[in-house]
């Protein structure tokens, strides 16, 4: 690794430690981007790129992003599940970067479910 060095990582660690000591609750929202072959082929990567950018811009360190596989609804991909702590998960269908930005700002940050894009409420039964 060239110019960006381990010293930079140490600085990041110290900075994050300072921030963590100011706040207690760590994870408030979990967002799952479905990354099966079907999801990737229909643009899940761009959706996830957008989500990571938005989190970085907003400094929303209490939002956790994860990926999962296909859940069998390939024709409705890209799918995104938003799970606010202590609330039922919301599954969004046919997501693109613009819809992802809207969901991030309105649902993840402000708590308003974006009904027009909702596929379902609740968790899938995973085998």
């Amino acid at each position: 690794m060239a110019k960006l060095t381990i010293a930079d990582l140490k600085k990041i660690k110290e900075k994050v430690h300072k921030e963590m000591s100011l706040r207690d609750g760590d994870r408030r929202v979990k967002v799952t981007v479905h990354m099966g072959t079907c999801g990737i082929a229909s643009g899940a990567k761009e959706v996830m790129d957008t989500l990571l950018q938005e989190i970085e811009t907003a400094g929303a360190n209490d939002v956790i992003v994860t990926t999962s596989g296909c859940m069998g609804l390939c024709s409705r991909e890209p799918l995104v599940t938003v799970e606010v702590l202590n609330q039922a998960p919301i599954k969004y269908e046919y997501i693109n970067p613009n819809k992802m930005r809207q969901i991030f700002k309105k649902h993840i940050l402000a708590g308003e479910i974006q009904t027009p894009f909702v596929l379902a409420k609740g968790s899938e039964v995973n085998k």
């Binding site: 990041i12 900075k15 990737i40 296909c70």
Partner: protein, 182 residues
């Protein structure tokens, strides 16, 4: 799947589903031999011989939610269209390695696409998996190992926005130095 980086993301997600703890992504470009290879090596639970035999069959999948499994057949097709091939080795309990080769300058070789973003997504989306990425262009080499990063940041999660930003910086700098062609 129009870009090689999308295939890499897809195959690496297979490794994640196979319970891998370490996934190695190895890309090599050799201009003199007009050769590009992409290898994804994991330490997941591997496959049985009968599963290996069916891996190129798009109507075979281990999933129960649908009846098709297109990830590996699509990669094999992308490799073959550019005069390359796909090799797969797997051992139950040990892991799986997939290597696809391509004609680097072949007209039908798919472009690499956003490899930086792909690696970031893999790291961000799979908190408990380590990634060892190697990219070689002729004699120029670049490596990124998340195990080394984890050692330095200790209890800070690797998917923290600040850490991801750092990793993005390292990747962009690395790729701008080795100047890949794909």
């Amino acid at each position: 799947m129009l870009e090689l980086s999308a295939h890499i993301l897809d195959i690496a997600e297979n490794s994640v589903r196979a319970g891998a703890r370490l996934i190695e992504i190895n890309i090599e470009e050799d201009t003199a031999n007009d050769y590009l290879s992409i290898a994804i090596i994991d330490d997941g639970h591997g496959m049985k011989q009968e599963e290996i035999n069916k891996v190129l069959d798009p109507f075979y999948t281990t999933k129960t939610v649908r009846r098709v499994g297109l990830g590996i057949p699509l990669l094999a097709d992308a490799a073959q269209r550019s005069g390359g091939s796909l090799q797969l080795q797997s051992q139950e309990g040990k892991g799986t390695s997939i290597k696809a080769t391509f004609g680097l300058n072949h007209l039908d070789r798919q472009p690499m696409g956003d490899i930086t973003g792909t690696i970031i997504i893999l790291i961000a989306g799979n908190l408990d998996v380590d990634f060892y990425c190697k990219y070689r262009h002729n004699i120029r080499r670049f490596e990124l190992d998340t195990r080394e990063i984890r050692k330095e940041i200790e209890d800070v999660p690797i998917n923290h926005p600040e850490v991801l930003k750092y990793i993005r910086g390292v990747l962009e700098e690395g790729f701008s130095e080795i100047k890949p062609e794909a």
